[in-house]
């Protein structure tokens, strides 16, 4: 029935919207602190490429556990979480902040409107997470 499929579509749309709203609220809750705050410490560096048929996000996640990576697609956004193989104490790698350590990477990346988050593909190469997001209405892979 037409109205049933339309209802399904509407449900999916609302679910996505609610997820996005919660993501935004979560982001707002994180206080902005100058210097290397906890959030900045966990936030991996990333770079963004636009290719003719797709977008590519490359995230630098050194020392991560390749089996514990999560990439979630939302409307116009990506959320990345990756756990490290082991906790890295910053003091051990030359920083002068005795109590700080890194256990997990977290990152939210905004995407252009035509990014098709339903067709995300990701690979890991040399400790870098490479996420490919096709553009809508284009066949790529």
């Amino acid at each position: 029935m037409f109205w049933e499929s339309e209802l399904e579509r509407l449900k999916r749309y609302l679910r996505r919207k609610i997820e996005d709203l919660f993501q935004e609220l979560e982001k707002e809750r994180t206080p902005e602190v100058s210097g290397e705050s906890e959030a900045e410490l966990e936030e991996p560096l990333h770079t963004f490429y636009e290719l003719p048929e797709k977008y590519v996000v490359v995230c630098d996640i050194p020392a991560c556990d390749e089996t514990k990576i999560e990439v979630l697609g939302y409307t116009r956004a990506l959320e990345i979480k990756a756990r490290l193989k082991r906790e890295v104490k910053l003091e051990q790698i030359g920083f002068r902040c005795a109590s700080r350590s890194l256990k997990e990477y977290k990152k939210r990346v905004s995407l252009p409107e035509d990014a098709d988050v339903a067709r995300i593909l990701y690979t890991i190469r040399a400790g870098r997470l490479i996420i490919e997001i096709p553009k809508k209405n284009r066949s790529v892979f």
Partner: protein, 232 residues
């Protein structure tokens, strides 16, 4: 003289840090430009060091390294200071090591190197490296000033550009630059430690990369990926 400044993928900085360590270079001086550099000082062994430090290896290789990003307002003064110093000291070649932002880097573990050069001797030497010439494109930043102003000082400059990620520290690209510098200077340089410690280097240089990226976007570094206007 080999120059490694914070730039795309921190290729220059990572490369020269490795050279300093591998060649057991000793610190012999530095460059500071009063009122133009950020108000900070690098302290080593309890004493202040200039923001741009000069090391000497094998009695003939001067290595210039910057440990903090350089403010764009200092680019011209710094480049001219460097050129003036090189001319006075009769430096044979200035070799600039840098990253070249390229989407090709996503697809390969072996980033491709290119050369650009200024001065007849430099071009002859670069041609023997067996790598492609950087045929056409735009370079932005202190390396660009050094390359275009070298002829005024009758100096020879070779720029070794290695495809890299723009905003991520890229030790693998740096290892390619180091190998090429070894070939150029006929000095054997082992890069295995650099590759073994790539993960650690990326962890340690994250904040420097973040600061460098901010400056690169201020100076329009993204333009390097664009084609030139004149295509004939």
């Amino acid at each position: 003289m080999v120059v490694g400044l914070p730039d795309a993928g921190l290729v220059g900085g990572i490369s020269v840090s490795h050279l300093i360590r591998e060649l057991k270079a000793r610190e012999v001086g530095g460059i500071d430009i009063a009122r133009m550099m950020p108000p900070l000082v690098i302290v080593k062994d309890g004493t202040p060091r200039p923001p741009l430090r000069l090391f000497l290896a094998k009695d003939s290789i001067l290595i210039l390294v910057a440990e903090t990003p350089l403010p764009p307002s200092a680019y011209y003064s710094l480049s001219y200071a460097l050129l003036d110093y090189s001319a006075r000291r009769r430096i044979d070649y200035i070799v600039s090591l840098t990253g070249l932002s390229s989407p090709n880097r996503i697809r390969t573990d072996k980033p491709k190197p290119y050369w650009a050069a200024s001065g007849r001797k430099a071009i002859e030497v670069a041609e023997k490296l067996g790598i492609e010439r950087f045929n056409e494109g735009i370079l932005i930043g202190p390396y660009a000033i050094i390359l275009k102003e070298c002829f005024r000082f009758r100096l020879d400059n070779i720029v070794l550009l290695v495809e890299s990620f723009p905003d991520l520290p890229d030790p693998e690209a740096a290892s390619v630059a180091v190998r090429l510098f070894g070939k150029l200077s006929q000095v054997e340089i082992d890069v295995s430690k650099l590759l073994e410690e790539a993960e650690l280097i990326r962890l340690r240089t994250k904040e420097l990369m973040r600061q460098t990226s901010k400056i690169m976007s201020q100076i329009g570094k993204g333009m390097e990926m664009q084609p030139t206007l004149i295509y004939t």
